[in-house]
């Protein structure tokens, strides 16, 4: 958990640094009156590195993923709820009352 968190923070720092460098690069271009065709190559590499780090952190920090398929081993329906609205008390269990001592109060 801790390592994933640190990696995530590092990825975010990379991304913000890349954004800052791009803004600086653009202001530099404004001074030299060149067109802005795209950020420089090292900024692009920094962006990719930040992306990879953030994605890795996003997948590891939240922990175990829950399964979503309804037929997976954990989610499959095993039994229906017993129809408690139609419960009758007239069954054979009447002959075997539960023998515990009565409640206090």
């Amino acid at each position: 958990m801790g390592a994933g968190f640190v990696v995530g923070v590092l990825g975010v720092l990379f991304l913000s640094h890349a954004a800052y460098s791009t803004i600086q690069y653009r202001s530099l271009l404004k001074i030299t009156e060149d067109e802005f065709t795209g950020p420089p190559i090292n900024v692009v590499m920094e962006l990719i590195a930040g992306l990879v780090l953030c994605m890795w952190a996003a997948l590891t920090v939240p922990g175990k993923f829950l399964s979503i398929l309804p037929q997976s081993d954990e989610n499959r329906v095993v039994a229906l709820p017993s129809n408690l609205d139609f419960m009758i008390f007239n069954h054979r269990g009447k002959a075997f009352p539960l023998s515990i001592d009565a409640k206090l109060k």
């Binding site: 954990e74 095993v78 008390f89 539960l98």
Partner: protein, 302 residues
């Protein structure tokens, strides 16, 4: 709908509480959420919580729900004295409540005083005409008195008003199956599958009824529905796997005289036999030989 994880959880909690490891309140909450009917355990553990004033105050305002749950469990376990005490406590706390009125009428039912219970239900119905639970209790009362045709009548009337009630459709289907009126039961299961198509157990019950009805078309349909059950349960449902094998052998028997071209290919049987073999090897290894001989006899008879 009880999924596998929930079932494991309930069983784990149950064994934990039985061995004295605490966690009764979680167990009772889970049983209430999943609507399981484990009255012995609910009564035992509910009593242990309610008799202990410390534990009772620890659950706070939910103790009244617990009273209701334990009262129903007491009626199921035939401890009517306990049930009467609990209903009295609830009446003191909530004197004008319809929910407690229903519980009182249920107590009269459990004691076998059918006329008084009928009167109580009718008076409750006068106040609110369309209370589904009271209608259902009336059906249950008719069923308990052995008046199955009356129960069917009441249930049909109820379903005319409340067509969406899945529990009622399921109850009607089960009553029809118990009376061997399989066509009507098939209709009820069709309604259930229409409204909740992702629950495999309805498909399974429908397939069972169709297989019981017999006849080539019904067997083909039953085959399809067993296949859809296997699909929706990820291949782990033993009964559906057996159903496929039985359907295949029954269809083969019926179409024995016909041409090979007329026969549709029913290719799922060997696959399901394989799956069954694997399952048995894992869970009941001493029965694998019995399984093999049964499957062989099914194929031989075709």
């Amino acid at each position: 709908m009880v999924s596998k994880t929930e079932e494991d959880q309930v069983n784990r909690l149950e064994s934990q509480v039985e061995n004295g490891g605490g966690g009764e309140w979680e167990y009772l909450c889970l049983v209430r959420k999943l609507k399981l009917r484990r009255s012995y355990n609910v009564l035992k553990y509910g009593l242990s919580i309610l008799n202990d004033p410390k534990k009772r105050s620890a659950i706070g305002p939910e103790e009244w729900t617990l009273y209701e749950q334990v009262a129903a469990a007491a009626m199921d376990c035939q401890r009517l004295d306990l049930a009467k005490d609990y209903v009295k406590v609830l009446l003191e706390k909530f004197p004008e409540s319809k929910r407690v009125g229903r519980l009182e009428a249920m107590l009269l039912e459990a004691m076998g005083l059918w006329e008084e219970a009928e009167k109580a239900y009718s008076s409750l119905l006068e106040d609110n005409e369309l209370d589904p639970v009271i209608h259902k209790r009336r059906v249950a009362m008719a069923k308990a008195q052995g008046n199955i045709s009356g129960a069917i009548e009441w249930l049909n009337k109820y379903l005319e008003i409340f067509m969406v009630d899945h529990d009622a459709w399921r109850e009607l289907a089960e009553i029809y199956v118990s009376l061997q009126m399989y066509k009507q039961a098939a209709f009820c299961y069709e309604e259930l599958i229409l409204s909740q198509p992702t629950i495999p157990l309805y498909h399974l019950a429908y397939a069972d009824v169709l297989y019981t009805l017999g006849g080539l078309e019904n067997l083909h349909m039953a085959y399809k529905y067993y296949a859809s059950t296997i699909d929706l349960t990820g291949g782990k449902h033993t009964r559906a796997l057996f159903g496929i094998c039985l359907c295949t052998s029954a269809i083969d028997q019926l179409t024995r005289g016909r041409n090979k071209d007329d026969k549709e290919n029913l290719q799922l049987a060997p696959l399901s036999a394989l799956a069954l073999g694997k399952d048995y090897k894992q869970r009941a290894p001493n029965k694998v030989s019995m399984l093999a001989s049964t499957l062989r006899s099914l194929k031989l008879s075709s």
